[in-house]
Symmetry: C2
Subunit: 506 residues, 2 copies
Amino acid sequence: MAKQKKTAITPTRDENYPEWYQQVVRAAELAENSDVRGCMVIKPWGYALWENIQRGLDKMFKETGHVNAYFPLFIPKSYLEKEAEHVEGFAKECAVVTHHRLELGEDGKLHPAGELEEPLIVRPTSETIIGATFAKWVQSYRDLPLLINQWANVVRWEMRTRLFLRTAEFLWQEGHTAHETEAEAWEETRKMLEVYKTFAEDYMAMPVLTGEKTAGERFPGAVSTLCIEAMMQDRKALQAGTSHFLGQNFAKASGIQYAAREGDKEFAWTTSWGVSTRLIGGMIMTHGDDDGMVMPPRLAPSHVVLLPIIRQEEDREAILAYCNEIAAKLRTQRFHEREVEVVIDARDINAGEKGWGWVKKGIPVRAEVGPRDMANHSVFMARRDTGEKKGIDKDEFVATIAQTLEDIQQGMLQKARDYRAAYTREFDSYDEFVAFFTPENKERPEAHGGFAMSHWCDGSACEDKISDDLSVTIRTVPFDRAESGAGQCVCCGKPSSGRVVFAKSY
Amino acid sequence: MAKQKKTAITPTRDENYPEWYQQVVRAAELAENSDVRGCMVIKPWGYALWENIQRGLDKMFKETGHVNAYFPLFIPKSYLEKEAEHVEGFAKECAVVTHHRLELGEDGKLHPAGELEEPLIVRPTSETIIGATFAKWVQSYRDLPLLINQWANVVRWEMRTRLFLRTAEFLWQEGHTAHETEAEAWEETRKMLEVYKTFAEDYMAMPVLTGEKTAGERFPGAVSTLCIEAMMQDRKALQAGTSHFLGQNFAKASGIQYAAREGDKEFAWTTSWGVSTRLIGGMIMTHGDDDGMVMPPRLAPSHVVLLPIIRQEEDREAILAYCNEIAAKLRTQRFHEREVEVVIDARDINAGEKGWGWVKKGIPVRAEVGPRDMANHSVFMARRDTGEKKGIDKDEFVATIAQTLEDIQQGMLQKARDYRAAYTREFDSYDEFVAFFTPENKERPEAHGGFAMSHWCDGSACEDKISDDLSVTIRTVPFDRAESGAGQCVCCGKPSSGRVVFAKSY
């Protein structure tokens, strides 16, 4: 039996994937649970990652004509009730504010007092409150399109929570737009999905499939929900972003009407679209390995850590000066949309422990600097993605850093693409389809799960049966579904216009 | 009688200052009231201003060693109760979450259901929830100092609200730090006040006084509250930012303990400091005039608007091309920490109305571009701050834009300094002090209010009497109080170590 490689994370992905995930979040110092049920604390390293995600997306939103604004945290209950499907979708898991002060009771304790006439819901999403505002802002077709985005916190009272993936409170952006015509609203819905796909692939190095959700998986109140779906390393799908075509449903519920070019009053056509801190969960599960997090350089909070190795106290000053000199030169280099960001970790702790700390945090490049490196005008660099280590001349290190980071970025994307390709299979037989998703079936190599590209009759009966039997759902109906050719539903055998994507999911 | 100048805002500042303020907020499209009591909608122009405030402050926080993180929106009631003064300060005005879903009742309506075992408070400030986290993060003196900032929304259930100045929900940043020694925590408290002062003056062009609050005006639970105070154009004071030395009060309440260098367990020393969207209210009331908002260039969402004047349709293409050329050249220029930001407003609406729209929004520079300007290779520029208008060669316009913006920035700061100086007076007689704050006393020129620099015996009885009689409070006890020399309390005549700042306030 081969000697087991020692890993920084226990258990490994193969041993216990969900537990591995929690341990990576912890070891990488990205987030932790708070004492408030389901609410997380996003730690500085995790929040810096979120700030970079925000910066990248915000730029893309602004380039596509959107502006930011801010709307109330609270939604009157009556607003939520305006759209029937919408309220049904969110009523079961919302935080309700009923009082506006605390008062000392006879038991010497503080109790809620000052009951509100109408309860307020902490926003789970803002279609209704933003809709009410849009109704005031939109008078004429000249006021359209209205292209607004909000960065905010939202609350959905989930019963089973997991850091980043499903938390009671999370951070997100929600785009809300209103248009003159159905066609323009559809164009916006598709355009923002494309922005999400570009961001996922170009920044996060996380390949995604795009398509439409089935009726059962739609956003409550939407006419159509488009999505990006990524494959995690346990072969489950993660819904990483959604873009909703809302038709005139919310415009009618909120009264968003405009004087049309011909003079009649018309209801606007609206869209909404969002991604959240869940993206961080997606990055961990796409790139993390058994030593912890691996950060894609375009989003990494820092690109390079310099690790001074001080074995004798008399070397300290010279080595730190050498590190400062290299750091200053690295910072003059640009990578992607910012300067190369460098940390010098001169903490006086065990060198091995210090180095592993940065491995677990996933910083793209580490460079050790000891007396011998200094004498050789070099550093000893390590790439987090491949594990490759080598001594390199310090000037070459600086001159090639941007290319190194770009190689890492592209390598990570390619690796994730290859992984997805390896676990995406076409199935036409229901037995094989079932076997694919039955992990206890260890002797069958295909029983590893993944994305099953199979035909579907468009019937909810088959969708429900597959969900009940296997906990497998249709993740997305590809836009180019027809290109896979017609066939028979993998479940019932009725005609299908093309394959759709089945998977287990988060 | 001189002909009254027509103003864009009605009423003027002199006619009705509070109403003038509301009208400027509205006319400048900064914010509006929502249907949710006390919660505002921050409109795109106002939010872009807030984003610039955030960018400027965030940079200064990071330069002083702080990192951002994010903590839960909800605070368990028991956490708030850990610090006695703290809970007393906030219990009267907090939003209380008592249920976690809505359920259909027999009346066919949705009612709160799923009562929580312990009510949750929507954070009015985060000392207690962040303290609980710090207690986990801090083990040893090596973990200190802990220098954290959070950008977040907070809720205080104010009964009388006013856009930006006092709203139930507002946006802010709250710094929270923990230190090994009392001296270090004090140094941090003072350092962050200095950051706020620098930001207020260098970015907002709003001069501020610094000092300490009296015991009665302290943050609930703090040992000492330092503040920056600015004078508005109605001569009232606005508390624009606070920095609190919390001693060991919250460390004891939350159990933030560390193993000291000598090995004993010690409680940490903590600070907190914050500024909010109230700063926008301060900018409006410092710089706004009877034509609307005046934006300090370093924070203005855009610096320059180009206004094409198209009188004949056949000129349109050429004029727009000319505008695009100038805009492109302007955007190559840098001002302060960013590129010059330019809008071309080519909307097909009345030219006068369009120009006045930008006056009201307070953009620093407007430039009209008509056929004659194009023929002369010039533009017709107007400065928002001085109202100065002139034709200027287009290349000179571009080459001098950064200097023009800097002139505006410095001119605004100087004007605000002069205003404050004009309405800051020393009073040693209580009669004169009273007259100063008695506006009905129209025939007395000093009866305009402002900052009264007067002696105080340090007694709360005099402080209360002045507050009761005149609604005037001690805004701040200057750090250099002693420099004004000893004297007698303006109210009771007892000895005073130096003058303090009295004013009416927001």
